[in-house]
């Protein structure tokens, strides 16, 4: 235990890997055993995340640091460390991974062993991405999430799963390879891969433009910014429930985290130059994402497009360069991860019962599925930002902050919120209320104990986050302030016009 105590982050990241190796040794037919090992490992990682969260002070600096030389020849180290924000995202990752394991308990019946090995590797990759302070290490973890998700979509997905899995990989890879080129270049300029050293390095202005552009493309694909989003609805819709939960809950947060941790604070000069463009993309994402969600006939794609809209909000909050708004983005990431994860879970339950994802096939389901309908309405309310539930705090803070610095954009984003509310309400109405769509409705059973066991904690956390966001954010505020301070360096020192004349 002493090792765990001194290497808390390493233990968190590699616990799932150890479990994956252990599962490899278990015969494939012991399915329950495999599921239990997987769940136990992720639960343990979650518990350790909670310990780590309790242990950090939230000073805005990186804490729980670990440093081991990794590839000395090129100056890359195994350097881990977290602040409040990354710790929150690690908690979210571990929690949603645990939910995914339970969600796939009955859904995944073929190749259970492979599934859980991949899920655990994916979990380790996500945790590592948020914990890495060495940029090369970050890149490796970032890419490590790609291959397991490729397999999860490709093997257990539905529809054109093979084509969609490859589309997912190629989209992400196109961005991340350009980011790799940027990382190599920046490491040459800064002399190492140490992120903290990069923060204090002054990159030349032309360098900043290119480096920011490459990174923003990689992160923008992942978020996804509107225009780069075409992989998202396909992948989210055709992935198995566990895959959808993790894609929407965590993987797209990695893109926003990339902006938060790397692209914006590292290249403040470029932030000034690119912010108008990115703001337009963000706000367009809010509105167009909601509009696209509104017209989807497929309920899973609908939820997927709602993510585009919410992530637009997150981007807006980051680009507002205001501590309130940045804090709101963090809060919304958590809220959206929980809410959308739960929505995908519910859609998975619904579609698993009825073997259809088309909204038109449903109607009046609330009569047969009262509990499921209750949870769905609850999550939809959270998703549209009802006060007292998880998304409200984040969206409110983002609007509060961005109205002060980016008034016009914030005003447009409000319209997106209205559309989102319309979309969710209309969906609930069409699926759960009204007349029974068909006699088949009578044949389905409401959710049972296992499903409630997943939904009740999520709902409880959503209420907790909504009612008392300060508990979540107490350790992340200073991180948000540090982010704004770093990202605003140029704006503070030199007025924009003068800066451009240079």
């Amino acid at each position: 235990m002493n090792f765990v105590d001194t290497h808390l982050l390493t233990s968190i990241v590699f616990l799932p890997v150890a479990a994956a190796l252990a599962i490899l040794a278990v015969p494939a037919r012991w399915k329950t055993m495999i599921r239990l090992v997987s769940l136990a490992a992720i639960a343990a990682a979650l518990a350790l995340c909670a310990v780590a969260f309790a242990r950090i002070d939230g000073t805005g600096d990186f804490e729980l640091l670990e440093l081991v030389p990794w590839i000395p020849a090129i100056g890359a180290s195994y350097r881990l460390g977290v602040d409040g924000t990354s710790m929150l995202l690690m908690l979210l990752s571990a929690f949603l991974s645990a939910v995914s394991v339970v969600a796939s308990w009955n859904e995944i019946q073929t190749r259970v062993k492979e599934f859980h090995v991949l899920l655990l590797v994916l979990c380790a990759g996500m945790l590592g991405t948020f914990a890495a302070l060495d940029v090369l290490l970050f890149y490796v973890f970032w890419e490590v999430t790609l291959i397991p998700m490729y397999f999860i979509v490709g093997i257990w997905g539905s529809g054109d799963r093979i084509g969609i899995a490859i589309k997912f990989v190629l989209f992400t890879m196109a961005g991340s390879l350009l980011m790799l080129a940027a990382i190599i270049y920046a490491a040459g300029a800064a002399g190492s891969f140490d992120l903290v050293a990069w923060y204090s390095h002054r990159f030349g202005i032309a360098q900043q433009m290119w480096l920011f552009a490459a990174m923003a493309l990689a992160f923008g694909i992942k978020v996804p910014a509107i225009g780069l989003h075409s992989w998202l609805p396909d992948t989210h819709a055709e992935a198995p429930t566990a895959g959808s939960i993790l894609l929407a809950g965590v993987l797209i947060k990695m893109g926003a985290y990339g902006f938060y941790r790397f692209a914006m604070p590292l290249f403040p000069g470029a932030v000034v130059a690119f912010s108008q463009l990115l703001l337009v993309l963000a706000v367009t994402g809010v509105v167009v994402g909601a509009l696209l969600a509104l017209i989807q006939p497929d309920i899973k794609r609908l939820v997927a497009f709602s993510s585009v809209s919410h992530m637009g909000f997150v981007l807006l909050g980051l680009l507002a360069l205001d501590a309130d708004a940045a804090g709101g983005s963090i809060l919304l990431m958590i809220g959206h991860g929980l809410t959308t994860g739960a929505l995908f879970l519910l859609v998975g339950m619904l579609c698993g019962r009825r073997r259809s994802r088309m909204i038109a096939d449903y109607g009046g389901s609330a009569k047969q599925l009262p509990l499921l309908a209750t949870f769905f309405v609850f999550m939809s309310l959270s998703s549209m930002g009802l006060p007292g539930l998880a998304n409200f705090g984040g969206e409110f803070l983002i609007l509060l902050g961005s109205f002060q610095t980016r008034t016009a954009f914030a005003a447009v984003a409000v319209a997106g919120m209205v559309l989102m509310a319309a979309c969710m309400l209309w969906t609930v109405q069409r699926v759960f209320f009204g007349r029974l769509a068909s006699e088949k409705e009578r044949l389905v059973f409401d959710i049972g104990f296992r499903e409630c066991a997943m939904l009740v904690p999520i709902a409880a956390i959503i209420v907790a986050v909504g009612v008392w966001p300060q508990a979540v954010m107490s350790k992340a505020w200073r991180s948000a302030e540090a982010f704004v301070k770093l990202s605003k360096r140029v704006e503070m020192v030199v007025p924009v016009s003068k800066y451009e004349q240079k």
């Binding site: 000395p72 490796v140 080129a181 190599i184």
Partner: protein, 502 residues
């Protein structure tokens, strides 16, 4: 020149450093003599003898490596550390080839001792090539290698495809040699020198005197074209797909891992000598050559159905990636040599593994393995499928595998030299490559076996014998372990580079 230096030669040192090569040559001679005198029974004596010779040679080379430095033999061979490193790569490739060949030849019913002799002669030639410090020795190395491999390509006389491939390869190889010899003639004519070190010095003098004439440039160009043939750079690549496809699969692996490594190292040594004098023209020519090679290799590989042919085309693409470091030779030959040497090692291990899988999957009757044949392989042959997936993912350059580290290194050399756009092009090419590398993976894991391919039965159960398993395991271990912890391998490469040329 030889005569001038005769008195100054350190015969002891010469003998000592050429010992590893002498051992291999002697083993080859013994095998061929044994083949002529003894009867052609199917005994394991010859391959075991060959492996023994290779092992002794490897041990000697390993022992000599730390002592290698400025020594050279008759100004014809330079025993610097890169040469010994290249020699060790070639030895590993040859040993793996022999291990693969034993079961392959017995499955083909064509066990002949000369085969092993030819492999050792080719190995010897590659060693000469890796160490050659004179335009003439390079020619000797090229021809010793090529002639042995022509014979090996067409070794299975019963296979029309193999004989045709050998003939094509021979004609194109002769063509390449003609270019090269023409280049040597012009270089000799313009400088009066064939030794690379003196050539570099003379070219430097001419360059600073502004005296680089068209004869010199023409000579460099012709010799470079000769090399471009040998490393299969576009547009001089046309021989490669046919030769690789038609050759016995172990020989294909040998060509990809060994012959390519030696040719690339010789090309790099030649480049180190002349690039400075050839200046901008060299930079631009290599830039274009690299880009064309990547594009041609990747785009052609996209269209291949046959796995072996796909890997052959991808081998062209990898030559293109290797060439990414070549424009930077003049500016920073140390960085370029490190990058190329590392990638050559990485590619050798990946290619050996991948072709070993192709061999294990090919039936006893040389049925080609199409991507479609792989459908559902992960259920029937889970270990082979997993290994193949690993090698393909590594070839595609995903972290945390060796392929990623190799690519990182190449990109680093080019970025340092300012060839950012070439790196961007290589990155985009890697995205294309990911598409075709992941296609067999998708077939193996995402598809179920179709009835239409019932005629395909074998999947070489007979060929998966202990030596093949050993090769697969060694390569897989290397790809993973050095992918995660490249430190030691990098240290070896760092200590080996640069060449002892200028």
């Amino acid at each position: 020149m030889i005569i001038e230096h005769f008195g100054q030669i350190d015969w002891v040192s010469l003998f000592r450093f050429s010992m590893p090569m002498i051992v291999v040559f002697a083993t080859a001679a013994v095998i061929v003599a044994g083949a002529a005198l003894g009867d052609d029974d199917a005994s394991l004596v010859y391959p075991v003898l060959a492996l023994l010779g290779l092992a002794i040679s490897f041990a000697l080379a390993w022992h000599l490596w730390p002592m290698a430095g400025k020594g050279s033999a008759l100004e014809l061979l330079s025993f610097d550390r890169v040469a010994l490193l290249g020699w060790m790569i070639v030895l590993v490739a040859a040993a793996c080839t022999i291990a693969l060949s034993v079961p392959y030849l017995s499955a083909q019913g064509y066990v002949r001792p000369e085969y092993y002799g030819l492999i050792l002669f080719a190995t010897f030639g590659m060693g000469v090539l890796a160490a050659a410090a004179d335009l003439i020795t390079i020619l000797l190395g090229l021809e010793t290698t090529s002639v042995s491999i022509y014979a090996l390509t067409g070794f299975l006389r019963g296979r029309p495809l193999g004989v045709e491939a050998a003939l094509k390869y021979f004609v194109m190889g002769a063509f390449a040699t003609a270019f090269y010899v023409m280049g040597v003639a012009f270089l000799f004519g313009s400088t009066g020198i064939t030794e690379l070190g003196l050539l570099a010095a003379r070219a430097g003098e001419m360059s600073s005197a502004g005296d680089i004439g068209s004869f010199f440039m023409f000579g460099v160009a012709m010799a470079a074209i000769g090399f471009a043939f040998k490393v299969a750079a576009a547009p001089f690549h046309a021989w490669l797909p046919d030769a690789y496809d038609g050759a016995p699969t172990p020989i294909t692996a040998f060509m990809a891992a060994g012959a390519k490594a030696a040719a690339v190292l010789a090309f790099l040594r030649f480049s180190t000598a002349v690039a400075g004098a050839a200046g901008v023209a060299w930079h631009h020519a290599m830039w274009a050559l690299s880009l064309a090679t990547m594009l041609v290799g990747n785009l052609a590989a996209l269209r291949q159905k046959n796995v072996k042919r796909m890997l052959a085309y991808s081998c062209i693409a990898h030559a293109g990636y290797l060439l990414v470091a070549f424009p930077s030779v003049a500016a920073d030959s140390y960085a370029a040599t490190k990058a190329v040497a590392f990638y050559v090692i990485a590619y050798a291990l990946m290619a050996l593994g991948a072709f070993a899988v192709v061999m294990a999957l090919g039936s006893d009757h040389n049925e080609p393995v199409d991507v479609g044949h792989l459908a559902g392989l992960s259920r029937r042959r889970p270990y082979i499928a997993a290994l193949f997936a690993l090698f393909l993912v590594s070839l595609a350059g995903f972290p945390p595998t060796l392929g990623f580290v190799g690519k990182y290194y190449l990109f680093l050399a080019a970025v340092k030299n300012g060839d950012i756009w070439l790196v961007v092009a290589a990155a985009m090419n890697s995205v294309v490559a990911a598409y075709y590398y992941l296609r067999p993976v998708a077939a193996m894991y995402f598809r179920e076996r179709k009835d239409g391919l019932a005629g395909y039965t074998a999947e070489g159960a007979a060929i998966l014998s202990p030596p093949v398993v050993a090769v697969l395991v060694i390569c897989a271990m290397a790809v993973v372990v050095f992918g995660l912890f490249p430190g030691n391998l990098m240290a070896l490469v760092h200590a080996s580079a640069p060449f002892n040329v200028p």
